[in-house]
Symmetry: D2
Subunit: 394 residues, 4 copies
Amino acid sequence: MIGAKGGVATTAIVGAIAIKKKIIGKAGLVSELPQFQKLPLPPWEDFVIAGHEIRRTHLADEAKRLVAESRTITSELFEQIRGELAQIDRRIRPGTIRNVGSTISALADWGLPDPASETPRQAVERLRRDMADFVEKEKIEHLISVNVTSTEPHTLAADSLPTTWPELEKLLDDPQACPLPASSLYAIAALGAGYSYLNFTPSLGASPAAIDDLAIRQKTRHYGCDGKTGETLMKSVLAPMFARRNLQVLSWVGHNIFGNLDGQVLSDPANKHGKVASKDHLIREILGYKPHTLVSIEYVPDLGDWKTAWDHVHFHGFLGVPMTLQFTWQGCDSALAAPLVLDMIRFTDLARRRGETGQMKFLASFFKSPYGVTEHNFERQFQWLEAWADKIVA
Amino acid sequence: MIGAKGGVATTAIVGAIAIKKKIIGKAGLVSELPQFQKLPLPPWEDFVIAGHEIRRTHLADEAKRLVAESRTITSELFEQIRGELAQIDRRIRPGTIRNVGSTISALADWGLPDPASETPRQAVERLRRDMADFVEKEKIEHLISVNVTSTEPHTLAADSLPTTWPELEKLLDDPQACPLPASSLYAIAALGAGYSYLNFTPSLGASPAAIDDLAIRQKTRHYGCDGKTGETLMKSVLAPMFARRNLQVLSWVGHNIFGNLDGQVLSDPANKHGKVASKDHLIREILGYKPHTLVSIEYVPDLGDWKTAWDHVHFHGFLGVPMTLQFTWQGCDSALAAPLVLDMIRFTDLARRRGETGQMKFLASFFKSPYGVTEHNFERQFQWLEAWADKIVA
Amino acid sequence: MIGAKGGVATTAIVGAIAIKKKIIGKAGLVSELPQFQKLPLPPWEDFVIAGHEIRRTHLADEAKRLVAESRTITSELFEQIRGELAQIDRRIRPGTIRNVGSTISALADWGLPDPASETPRQAVERLRRDMADFVEKEKIEHLISVNVTSTEPHTLAADSLPTTWPELEKLLDDPQACPLPASSLYAIAALGAGYSYLNFTPSLGASPAAIDDLAIRQKTRHYGCDGKTGETLMKSVLAPMFARRNLQVLSWVGHNIFGNLDGQVLSDPANKHGKVASKDHLIREILGYKPHTLVSIEYVPDLGDWKTAWDHVHFHGFLGVPMTLQFTWQGCDSALAAPLVLDMIRFTDLARRRGETGQMKFLASFFKSPYGVTEHNFERQFQWLEAWADKIVA
Amino acid sequence: MIGAKGGVATTAIVGAIAIKKKIIGKAGLVSELPQFQKLPLPPWEDFVIAGHEIRRTHLADEAKRLVAESRTITSELFEQIRGELAQIDRRIRPGTIRNVGSTISALADWGLPDPASETPRQAVERLRRDMADFVEKEKIEHLISVNVTSTEPHTLAADSLPTTWPELEKLLDDPQACPLPASSLYAIAALGAGYSYLNFTPSLGASPAAIDDLAIRQKTRHYGCDGKTGETLMKSVLAPMFARRNLQVLSWVGHNIFGNLDGQVLSDPANKHGKVASKDHLIREILGYKPHTLVSIEYVPDLGDWKTAWDHVHFHGFLGVPMTLQFTWQGCDSALAAPLVLDMIRFTDLARRRGETGQMKFLASFFKSPYGVTEHNFERQFQWLEAWADKIVA
């Protein structure tokens, strides 16, 4: 887990322990749906969790905050798993804040190496060593690295990166020339060692062609980006409905408010930009034309981990009659994201055992901006996952 | 058009004229989507409209009410088509109110034959004669009868009808023993003459096995029932989303308010019952379990043809965290239904030319309760329509 | 507390203990507003609580349900006050189910006297004895009885009661002739002994003129009815806004869903009727004309103590332009009602010390249907409370 | 009317004509409420309208747009009043764009004097001459100038203006030193001639102390600013409710979308700033503390004159239980504002006849930011208007 003490990671960790101990049900877990029960997915008992983080806080304290502030974890559950949290806490190591922007850097308080005194290559090697230590010590069969950190600012320089791994690798020694942010260094650390990598955020991660190239060369796999958990999930089922009925969407306005650490980071316009773009593009890609769209994301601290999205869709029906659809989605961000992280880890491990490399497009339904895919209709994306599973079982 | 001066029919008629005259765009018309452009659908110019009705009112007056009250038709549009409305008005003949319940009967003011003095068979023959006259006079290639009347009460006796046409036919001479409502008599009139029949309402229509049997014997076709235009359409795209993500729906409450004639009829509990059942069942069929569901429909006269639906979905996510989704759908009922009526007429005519008989299941995506189908996921139903079209074009 | 183990009472009791122990803040308490700080209100330390109830359950178990299901009381808070709950539990005695209707009677499992074997007078005397024992044992200066039971069905016979106490009293010996429900017997028990009585429900309680007469004869006081906590509170601030701006309300539709015991009781139409009337009337009284109004209340068990109200107001502005206001209120019923119960107890005690008798109209702002009052504008009602306080302080 | 061809002015003009001709009802008109019927308000027949504008467009074309796009004026109404519109159109003269910012200036296409070649004093004199011509020609008893232009950007320099009229007047000759925007020049033109002035916008207008000083010296009157018509009106009735019930507001988020010319102007951050401030401040002034507040205003062209506001209020009740209120206000901006403009003109004329000078605080309930007033509770402000009326009638 990259960002191992953040809300999504903490919830995923609490959940994974609770499932192992059979304390909670299977709600929210896609991999537990009937249609996937014949798949030889790795059992929950085999999960061992470690991670990187930039904040000094303790996992148990973060879980306690979810108990007290967001009321998503019950006191009872917390008491039953606090021992395991402490254990996992000891496996979390300092990460990197290279090119994460000033807002995220300001959160780092864990005595991380100063990016000025550590080249990108040195950072990659340090992170990879942490992973290898964990793999060896815990006798891990396969490590899957998942990025659940806050959104990094988009770097224009990243748009003109070399497209093959040998070319990109050369940049790692030159801190000035290398625009790669932390998310990409974690990806290189993992993929270069043959581990899998998943990018649950809109950050750069493994999206550059050269890092995909590295994955293929190392016969490993990755996918992203930006988990589709709430408002955008709604868009990906509602926009197709308007399209199928030939209802002309005039405007689609989405207003998101929430108060967790991610929200705080996104209140920096540099970090927000990538997120908004990731939430916005699929409307026009599904509809085939460009209505007026607006996505706003606002930090409202008192809401904690609860994200409320209000969407207003103005459309023309037959005879040009104007109509509207509004929805309000009140969800707990971490509780929506965490099970998907666990699901994808299971699917990814199966893909490994089947020798799949490169981009795992069958995971498209999990992402706002799935790599290499233009289909954003959720149901159709989900059919890909089912088809992938059917082929395995057949 | 059965119910030819009602809101849906009036809007469909106004729209069909406006399309012919190229005054309006194609918004809301499914048959005008890119994926159906290669189909040899009948051109708009070939449409000729007639109908049955139980109210004396004039089509133009009904259209004027849509101009003034619902503001769905503009004055400009009305002025351009009022001539054609008068022409069509002359082709509308008195229908029947057999077994339509007291609320609908009370609306009949057009000197209809008293059901007490006309046997079901006589009614069928009269209605069929009207159709045949129209076909002959206007040189119609194929007549497609569409039921867009208000919802009839559900008759328990209809549940134990004989299942073959020869058996059912015998009942037509015995007014006391024959529980068939008007919608079924119209269906028998049309199907018995080899015409097609579509049931856009939850009324009985052609749903009895014996009437389906009649259609097959006459080598003709039909489908229904209950057009899926607003709140239920939303359910059929949102419920699958909850299912795919394993989010446990605890309750789904839908509250519908509207003020047109249909709303007035539905304020009679006998008529409302069938409508509510048709709006309610698909949640549990899509989810595979039964959450607490509630559908209320209330008549609020001042809303006119504008239907507002508020839905509240309470669900459990990962760790049992309770979350909610609410939506408000503000649509003009007639403007949502009318284009689907026109679309289905086009698709049905093509099915005729291809020799298809019996139930047209490829039309499932248009209905709340599609005959012979358990799939209620809108996207999957729509894929059937696309597959049907692809096969024709291929 | 009548209905001492119900949601409102349990929350009020938990809150009163927590305030005494200074564990919680003053949110939700009207009597803690700055404008009332100079009033010699009874201090929280002086509260001693007892009650009547018809269910066998324990107060602590009810509180625990609020912890687990509604998540309104935190585990931490519960642990800190469970001792006091047990203490109060011992002061709760069996009540009466006379004329409470079958739905409420079905909840009674505490070996209550069968109404068939206890005359109304015997019930009153038994209840009064319980109160007197409590007053004596706990050295209570003044007892204030608050009805927070579930809504009783409206009895038509109650509409033609005699209007003086001596006449009404005679009925107490004749179980057949006496239509008084439990809520009125509690009122008679309290008022007859000189105690105060508050009716937080729409049940009959002390609303008959003859019981008001009893209060005045006994120089004591009472008020009601039906606490104004959520949707109706909203109506009482929004309807005046429409009135002041001369915006013509065409329809006001309110849809309420909730899942607590009160909700279960209200799913019985007999019990629901009085509640709906109490929620509905004030719109037309504030506006001065009668728009189309609808109030629905539906039991949705999974919502527990969380009540969601969706209101849709359709109105005409200048030039007859139709506009709408919708609101969704998501509140915890008990947490909204409980502080008002505590506030009114404090205000009532002060009224006693000042020698006020009969109806306490200065409490109008707390009620949906305040006795003897036609003003339903919340702000104006609140000004009465302020004026009352100002006069005391002056 | 300043901004005489804008949406608010056009609607007010159409409405004033329609009232004169008794074509429309009194909905939306405060001065037509029962409590003001004994006031000797000027009759509708006496209204004569003229104005200033910066766009070349015709009043009838603007009215026609309201017919076609916003559907607020019906075709029938338009046809009945188009003659009068042409008449009024001839009384509209070119205004000024001094210091209105680049976004508003870009809209000016009516051959206005270049601000560079006309000093502020020259502009004032020109505008005043237009007014005097109108007064003389039409035999106007008293001219009341109302600013209904788009929001000007806030000028920091305006914050340090001299506070007496003689000092301020000196600046009029120095275009460089004079930071006064158009709205203030119109105010000076009107007040200096003894006319009344109302500022329906958040622009500077007559708010500087020195211009108030001018009004008092000239024995005339004015008031502002920023008409309270929709979302902010709601805030001014709902925030008091939270305050009265001691419910702790944690955050209040308001999201406004609309598509008229005002919306387009407000999409310029410079112009938007003043509007947001005017919509935001009253929450904390009513509550007495500062919750987290956010107001966003977004231009969504397809919505035309229809403004939709979604507000989300997060608050703590008793025991710290978090609850929420959401509302969606769907109003037609011009139809909400226009009648208030007409009402205030009537009240202002009565104030003149009674010899009132300076700020007319009895009009506070009409404004988001009423001058010289800290009370934002709508009901209390309205009581001032009633008290003023009562005093006159008494």
